[in-house]
């Protein structure tokens, strides 16, 4: 225990000593609740803090893109195409004479939003299906988990490319394609957590008191699933960003003229650009790397912070 509670010990002379001591103990427990302990651990995690700062900067740049981007990211200037970095264009221009810096800033929008929205979407699917499978077991569990097994055998990138090809490229369809292929892993995670939580005494107590299943799942079981799910979601965002980059690199993701880090990397398919024009592929490549690395650091930090078995 930390030293903090000792400062709040009630004076011996207090007339209502017993009550006061209890209140102080409760207060002390509140002060060092699992939440605050996790927060403290998280904010002490230096790499997580680094990742968080980078993500905040990237997120701010994405939100404030119209204010900070020097040029319209879609504006072409076919006279100044593939110009190296200069005072006019800090990161040079691309094959259509568009400002690479402006596209890099605007490119953060689809890249980050695909990650966040797709992951939110499939984690929700996972919570619903995982809860049903884990809580009810039996046939429900069998059907859901066999479906999970089948979907997990699909080569995800190929199926996602196939789905995008059918649905058509674009931000929305990229999100849908990622979401409907990536829900299986968190579903297993949720189910596993629920299988152990549903046998807990407090769940039995709630059940014996006549609480409805939906209430038991919502109020007593799901809170215990949130922590591992959040950690999984963070890593999922990183994976989704990479998937979006891969799809856009193949011209199957974000549609032109919108910029995404992935479709900016498309230029790197030509040897001459790889060798002689690094400003066309290095900035989006670094942005993807930094974003994914930062998200993974944050994920590591959350995992360490939420691990109740871990020593302070």
């Amino acid at each position: 225990m930390s030293e903090k509670p000792e400062k709040f010990l009630a004076p011996e002379s207090d007339s209502n000593q017993g009550v006061a001591t209890l209140a102080i103990e409760v207060a002390a427990q509140k002060i060092d609740s699992p939440g605050s302990r996790a927060r403290r651990r998280f904010f002490r995690h230096r790499l997580a803090m680094f990742g968080l700062v980078v993500l905040i900067i990237m997120g701010s740049a994405a939100i404030l893109a119209p204010l900070i981007a020097p040029y319209d990211p879609a504006a072409q200037n076919l006279i100044d195409f593939r110009q190296p970095p200069s005072a006019k264009h800090w990161l040079g221009t691309d094959g259509f004479g568009r400002d690479v810096l402006s596209r890099l800033i605007y490119g953060a929008r689809p890249s980050l939003s695909v990650g966040l929205i797709a992951v939110t979407f499939y984690e929700l699917i996972a919570v619903i299906l995982g809860s049903l499978a884990g809580y009810y077991g039996g046939k429900v569990d069998w059907i859901i988990m066999r479906t999970v097994d089948v979907v997990m055998t699909f080569p995800s990138l190929i199926i996602i490319i196939f789905l995008v090809a059918i649905l058509g490229p674009g931000l929305r369809n990229t999100i849908v394609a990622i979401a409907i292929l990536r829900w299986t892993e968190p579903t297993r995670l949720v189910r596993g957590q629920i299988l152990s939580l549903r046998e807990m005494d407090y769940v039995l107590a709630a059940r014996s008191l006549g609480a409805k299943d939906s209430r038991i799942i919502r109020r007593h079981i799901l809170p215990g699933v949130i922590a591992p799910l959040v950690v999984h979601a963070t890593f999922g965002v990183a994976t989704a960003i990479l998937l979006e980059a891969a799809l856009s690199f193949l011209n199957l993701g974000i549609l032109p003229p919108a910029a995404s880090w992935g479709n900016m990397m498309t230029a790197a398919q030509e040897l001459v650009i790889l060798e002689q024009m690094p400003w066309l592929w290095l900035p989006p490549g670094l942005a993807i790397m930094l974003a994914v690395l930062s998200i993974n650091f944050v994920g590591d930090g959350l995992r360490d912070a939420l691990d109740v078995t871990r020593a302070e």
Binding site: Q76, L78, F96, A165, G168, N173, N251, L255, P257
Partner: protein, 620 residues
């Protein structure tokens, strides 16, 4: 945290290692060098210390660091004027060898793969026909009888003689009604009985008669000015050895599943087939009994790889020829002294915008809308940027050829004129969405769309661009793609090709052609019940002129008719022209025998040179 620190340290070290690996590493070489030293020794002699100085010369083995590659010695000589014997020729084979069965072949790449061993009757040139297995032909006065004279003394790679039987057998097999999949009957439809034979209503082609071993007579239903160029010199009519193919399993031959085509095929060409290593290479060896004289090199390898790998291999001297190359590679490769970039202006093909098959009414049936579209886009800027100047803006179907309209309107970039035209036909750009599609593969084709999109957006249109995978082309254009039937254009490589009568008849629905010039749409036109052209353009006037040109055998009169046709095209714009990309390739200085301009007017970018003409200079 300790694990995290270790991870970071590891990551940092890996990054440093990569950076170090990317920098030029000094090379250490061991050399024997002669070293001269001044040696001073102290000698004690008879109790007296004496200093003796002497000069010593000795050989020592030392390590020397070389930080830059030693400069290559300049070439000692120009290549000799006479071809040199021996050596191996290595050329790049783009996209591999997808179709091995000769009668089933439908793509150019596979034709190029077999071109060292297979031969056609003629080789088309921009201004005539070069005799190959046929020496020439005579035409009757009424233009209805063609007598084809074949080359005597030609032998197959197994030593058997080539005869007229082989030619007729090849024509019949290629057009057989039993072939699966069936080949479309595109040329030779005027030969008597050809359509019946193709439809399975006859056992032989009535209008083809073997006169003797080296003479064949073709009788036509009606004159056909394009017959020689489009049928006799057809790029896909490789002549088959009847004495071999007729002994194979018939079902396998008809279905294209016989192993023969990639295990031991024979032809009459300058090279004999040796082996095919799937996705790696095709190996050929010199055929000493070739009718045109044996080729110089011992072997010819056609190597399969991606374009990027091919360029690297070319620069390392492991390939002699890479055809084609991207326009963006030209400048860089021109700076490489060991290579030559081959450039030929192309008047046979252009990138264009083909309309959606289902758009048979509405805005894009109005020629002024199409003209406004062209005025809206700075196509010269596209040529200068995406094509790196290696192309020419085109304004009509035959632009750049002798068949071009003499009074052609040039649709150069003029946004004000475009706005006037849009207003004149009542188009409010802000209310119109234009959907355009390109499939992937050629960057120059793909990259036209973002440019067109930006210029049209500047006019006020909302523009969507779809890039789709090659495997989905047919579905998309048939209206089964994500936009259904509601899209406007797709980009394609288009143009007159080897002869003006090749593609043009199938542009207009009234020309009498009852099948699509492309493979889609497969479904027949719901109104006419026939498979017709993709753009669904209707012009009785154009159809009448096309028919007139088809039967006109006088070359000058034919040119004049096609010029009239081109003037109609120039105004009506059934499809929108963009620009003709130049034919670009790169060869090693060691490779000789490429005459890059010869076939520039044909549109066969893979047939810009003859495999049998290539030879390798050994540098001496």
């Amino acid at each position: 945290m300790r694990m995290k620190s270790k991870s970071i340290a590891f990551f940092g070290l890996a990054l440093i290692a990569i950076l170090v690996a990317c920098t030029a590493e000094p090379e250490v070489i061991i050399q024997e060098v002669e070293v001269t030293r001044v040696v001073t020794e102290t000698v004690v002699e008879e109790g007296e210390t004496i200093e003796v100085t002497r000069v010593v010369t000795e050989t020592e083995v030392v390590e020397v660091e070389v930080t830059a590659a030693p400069e290559e010695e300049p070439m000692a000589a120009e290549p000799p004027s006479e071809p040199q014997m021996g050596g191996d020729v290595r050329v790049w084979l783009p996209n591999g060898w997808p179709e091995q069965s000769w009668p089933h072949r439908s793509n150019w790449e596979s034709g190029w793969a077999i071109s060292p061993m297979a031969e056609t009757l003629f080789w088309p040139l921009a201004d005539g026909l070069e005799p190959r297995l046929a020496l020439g032909y005579e035409v009757s006065e009424d233009g209805l009888v063609y007598t084809l004279n074949l080359r005597e003394g030609v032998v197959w790679h197994d030593g058997e003689s080539f005869t007229a039987e082989d030619v007729v057998y090849s024509i019949e097999l290629r057009n057989s009604a039993d072939l699966r999949p069936l080949n479309g009957l595109r040329q030779g439809t005027t030969i008597q009985g050809m359509v019946d034979f193709h439809d399975g209503n006859a056992d032989s082609i009535e209008g083809i008669e073997i006169i003797d071993d080296y003479t064949i007579q073709f009788t036509l239903d009606s004159p056909d000015a394009g017959l020689a160029r489009l049928f006799f010199a057809a790029e896909m009519l490789e002549i088959l050895p009847q004495h071999v193919v007729s002994t194979l399993d018939e079902e396998e031959v008809l279905n294209g599943t016989s192993d023969y085509w990639f295990t031991n095929p024979i032809g009459t060409g300058p090279y004999k087939f040796v082996q095919y290593e799937p996705d790696q290479f095709i190996e050929y060896e010199r055929f000493d009994d070739y009718w045109g004289g044996a080729p110089m090199p011992d072997r010819l390898f056609m190597e399969i790889s991606t374009a990027e790998v091919a360029i690297v291999k070319l620069q390392r001297g492991e390939l002699h020829l890479v055809n084609p190359i991207q326009a963006t590679e030209v400048q860089r490769l021109q700076e490489d002294g060991s290579l030559e970039v081959l450039i030929a202006e192309n008047s046979a093909q252009w990138y264009g915008m083909e309309m959606n098959y289902f758009t048979n009414d509405g805005l894009w049936q109005n020629p002024k809308a199409k003209q406004a579209f062209l005025y809206s886009i700075d196509r010269q800027a596209y040529v200068d940027s995406i094509l790196q100047g290696q192309g020419v803006v085109r304004h009509s179907f035959f632009d750049g050829t002798v068949y071009a309209c003499p009074t052609m309107t040039e649709y150069n970039y003029d946004p004000e004129k475009a706005a006037e035209l849009w207003a004149e036909i009542g188009v409010v750009p802000e209310e119109v969405t234009i959907d355009m599609m390109s499939w992937l593969g050629l960057n120059a084709r793909r990259d036209y769309l973002p440019i067109a999109q930006e210029f049209l957006r500047a006019q006020g249109f909302k523009v969507n661009v779809d890039f789709i995978d090659n495997s989905l082309i047919t579905d998309y254009v048939q209206g089964n793609g994500p936009r259904g039937q509601d899209w406007d254009f797709h980009v394609l490589l288009f143009g007159p090709g080897a002869d003006p009568g090749g593609i043009l008849p199938f542009i207009t629905e009234d020309s009498g052609a009852n099948w699509g010039y492309r493979s889609w749409p497969e479904a027949p036109n719901p109104e006419t019940g026939v498979k017709d052209n993709a753009v669904r353009y209707t012009s009785p006037e154009l159809a009448a002129l096309i028919e007139q040109a088809r039967v006109e055998t006088d070359p000058q009169a034919r040119i004049e008719i096609y010029q009239q046709i081109d003037c109609i095209w120039n105004e009506e714009l059934p499809a929108f022209m963009t620009a003709s990309p130049s034919f670009l390739a790169a060869r090693s200085n060691m490779l000789q025998g490429t005459d890059w301009q010869t076939n520039a007017g044909l549109g066969f970018w893979l047939r810009m040179y003859r495999p049998g003409d290539l030879w390798v200079w050994d540098g001496s």
